[in-house]
């Protein structure tokens, strides 16, 4: 199977603190990979290094075989890599529709053509479909900042898919949302994955969510990769149980 993302010996140190310590893994096309680990295990730092938000201290990142270590997030996005953040990151003053158009507009033509072209960058129809897909139609013209937390989480996820990415990295998509909304989000992510054959990497603490969604799981502890396998096996792995629960 082709590797969409390859991470080799990635290391990130903040002064004397090593947040990510020689982590290596591959993500294959069409896969939903889960990354779990206790708080402070380096999951988000790993994401930030892969996605150009942080410069890794050492190691290499490849996307579709192309070295992208240290590339800017906007350049990675144009290569078809998208992400969500641990904390909500919508644009509160823009409408739901404009948030989605914004999420895809930089993939439409050049900067100059966007100035003289259509106000919706030709994405009005695509935004409407995405709004419908995430069942936000009744909120399309609402300001994103006025939506409930769960609705903003859905919008946040929808924005990550707007440009039709090949690889989506979701950082705690289930964080802080209620069980109903969680089920809805999981179902939409699964539907998107089935329809578009997209590749996901998901960081999540909500174990039920990870176990139901992911096909393979990596476990990080203290910046190191301590286990890898199918969700069922990971749940029973004594090393993982120890890392989560301690002695």
């Amino acid at each position: 199977m082709t590797a969409v993302l390859e991470v080799a010996n990635l290391r990130k140190a903040f002064g004397g603190v090593i947040a990510v310590d020689g982590v290596s893994f591959d993500v294959h096309a069409g896969e939903i990979l889960g990354i779990i680990g206790p708080n402070g295990s380096g999951k988000s730092t790993l994401f930030n290094c892969v996605l150009g938000q942080l410069q890794p201290s050492a190691g290499e990142v490849r996307i579709d075989g192309q070295v992208t270590t240290g590339a800017r997030p906007c350049d990675l996005n144009r290569l078809g890599v998208s992400r969500t953040f641990q904390l909500l990151q919508v644009f509160p003053q823009l409408s739901v529709r404009d948030n989605l158009i914004l999420a895809g507009q930089e993939h439409q033509g050049s900067m100059a053509s966007r100035l003289f072209g259509r106000a919706d960058a030709g994405l009005g129809e695509a935004a409407a479909q995405m709004i419908e897909f995430f069942r936000l139609s009744h909120l399309a013209e609402e300001q994103a900042g006025l939506l409930s937390y769960g609705q903003q989480k859905l919008l946040d996820a929808a924005m990550a898919f707007m440009a039709g990415p090949r690889l989506v990295l979701l950082d705690e998509p289930a964080g802080g949302i209620n069980l109903t909304m969680l089920g809805h989000l999981r179902e939409r992510l699964q539907a998107y994955h089935t329809e578009r054959k997209a590749t996901f990497v998901v960081i999540e603490h909500q174990m039920e969510f990870v176990m139901a969604l992911c096909t393979r799981v990596l476990v990080l502890a203290e910046g190191r990769l301590i286990a890898e396998g199918a969700p069922y096996d990971i749940r029973r792995n004594p090393i993982v149980i120890e890392a989560y629960l301690g002695h």
Partner: protein
Amino acid sequence: MTRLGTLAVVTATSAAIAAPFFLKPYGIFLISTWAVLTIAAIGLNLTLGYAGQISLAQGAFVGIGAYTVALLTPLGVPFFVAFIAAGLLCFAIGWGLGYPALRVQHHYLAFVTLAFTTLVFLVLRNEQWLTNGIYGITGTPRPTILGWKTNGGQDFYFLCLSILTILSFATWWMLRSPWGRAFVALRENPIRALSLGLDTRRYTLMAFAIGSSLGGLSGALYAPLVQFIEPNSFALGLSFNLLLMVIVGGSGNFFGPFVGALVAVLLPEWLRITQGYYLILYAAAIMVMMAFCPAGLLGLVERAAKALNDRRANATIPVRAEGAGT
């Protein structure tokens, strides 16, 4: 735009066209000043209100534009060539000034732009061979366009109003395009914007450059309007005044600079009847305004309109319920 909004714009445009026919020369000078400074305020609103990059340099760009026209037109350069040169020069300098914005934000950026304003003031004052120093430059001619002489106050006002209209339309076009959305994204969440493929570096520089360019174009009209320019006119006070226009009108609101400039130009004049107290009253009025409507005057209008709509909506609910029951 709502029907009420369209009506307000049409009324305001009609008033702007009719006003000089009812005003004395000083009144025409004041509304010309309003038109000219509104252009600079639109530029600052773009940089600050939409893109979220604080700038205390807009007054300096007005100065650069004014001196460009004042220096070029006596050399025989046609007014509109000098006008465009002023805009281009400020675009280039604004692009350069945007680089610090890539590294620093908020009050740190304010200090960088404040230092730039001081630098421009010192150049205008000290480089006497070029700018005539503290003696300033007098007699910048008003242009003749296809035989239409704009020497008279009324004619020059209509020239300023026409240019304001064209530049407002161009800015509106840009803000309704994906660029406008990108500028708002830059203000609200640059990290998320970057992750969505927006080249935040280029958009930041563009916001500075276009905003500065509008400042330069404003200055290019300011020189022939007042016909005497000197360095003090473009010191920090003007930058603060332009900032006041944007904030009072409604930062990030397209029509904010129009309203803000009107308040900043006309209010001190109306308060002159109080003689020595006018500056105290002006300052007090601004403080009260900011305390009760931090979103600016247009923010207050929007709040009032929303409250009215909510009240209407609430008033109709029992009627519907009664209707449903019968």
